[in-house]
């Protein structure tokens, strides 16, 4: 997929007229990344906004213990570093290619100018950010009552109770819970250590549904 095709489909730019689209394309650069390649470091000044064209980008944060933890995984056609580009504050996360990947980069200065020159693009970015803000507000509300571990327990019990031909991957479980696959994998490993379930090839066997249900129903106050 080339820049033109990508922009013609992206929610921010697909409604632009030809000259506006060309304006965006002129200011955009395609970057091909190898797995592990770092795009930005947490705390640094923002230099560019990125759009994922292909592959997956991991968003990492440093924990209080000095470890890096994956907090999000970005897929096509998601954009990232919009917030620091707009508010001028440091990058909130480190981003690193989780697979070989291709991104479109637009400098922060060019992004601001594009939004000034093309009100329809500005409006689409605003709507997208408003949607993301609503999703995060809902998630904060849910997380204030239940941890990811408790919500995973509830999800597993729901999956066991409602037969479906579509079996979830760990990635899909993570997406439903607003987290990343690594967190789901750790929670499953924790449940297995407690003896509540066993994870085998393609199967999660719940051995102690009562304990899992008690865990799911815990509410943080």
């Amino acid at each position: 997929m080339d820049i033109g095709q990508f922009l013609a489909r992206h929610e921010y730019t697909r409604d632009l007229d030809l000259s506006a689209m060309e304006d965006v394309a002129r200011r955009a650069t395609v970057r091909h990344l190898t797995r592990g390649e770092v795009l930005g470091l947490e705390g640094e000044r923002c230099s560019a906004v990125y759009f994922v064209m292909q592959g997956r980008i991991r968003s990492l944060k440093m924990t209080a213990q000095g470890r890096e933890q994956v907090v999000n995984e970005l897929r096509p056609p998601q954009a990232f570093y919009l917030v620091p580009a707009l508010d001028g504050a440091p990058l909130p996360t480190t981003t690193q290619a989780g697979t070989r990947a291709t991104v479109l980069s637009v400098s922060c200065a060019d992004l601001i100018e594009l939004l000034d020159r093309h009100p329809s693009m500005e409006r689409r970015v605003l709507v997208s950010m408003a949607r993301r803000l609503r999703h995060l507000a809902d998630l904060v509300g849910e997380l204030s009552l239940h941890t990811v571990s408790e919500r995973l327990a509830r999800l597993l019990l729901q999956e066991a109770a409602e037969p479906s031909s579509h079996h979830l991957t760990q990635q899909e479980m993570a997406a439903r819970l607003g987290t990343v696959r690594e967190v789901v994998a750790r929670a499953l490993a924790d449940f297995q250590t407690r003896g509540w379930l066993v994870v085998t090839r393609g199967r999660i066997e719940i051995r102690d549904a009562h304990a899992l249900r008690s865990h799911a129903d815990r509410t943080e106050v």
């Binding site: 999956e159 066991a160 393609g202």
Partner: protein, 74 residues
């Protein structure tokens, strides 16, 4: 009910070979421009799912409740 098996989404696969390289048990190979999975070898570790840049490999899980005394409820 049969266990789920890894799904290869052929429409998304670009035959990049990253999954073949990363598989710790050599369960994947490229055969005449097609990705082939050896189910017997596959350890269901998820490394291929993680590394695929196109999201073309999925490892689904069937969730069941098992009563240790009576066996699976479904």
């Amino acid at each position: 009910m049969a266990e789920p098996t890894p799904r290869i989404l052929r429409a998304l696969c670009t035959i990049c070979g990253d999954c073949v390289t990363i598989c710790p048990v050599a369960a994947l190979r490229l055969d005449r421009e097609e990705l082939v999975l050896d189910l017997e070898r596959c350890a269901y570790c998820g490394d291929c799912e993680d590394i695929c840049p196109m999201g073309a490999i999925e490892l689904p899980y069937q969730v069941v409740i098992v009563d240790p005394q009576r066996g699976p409820e479904r």
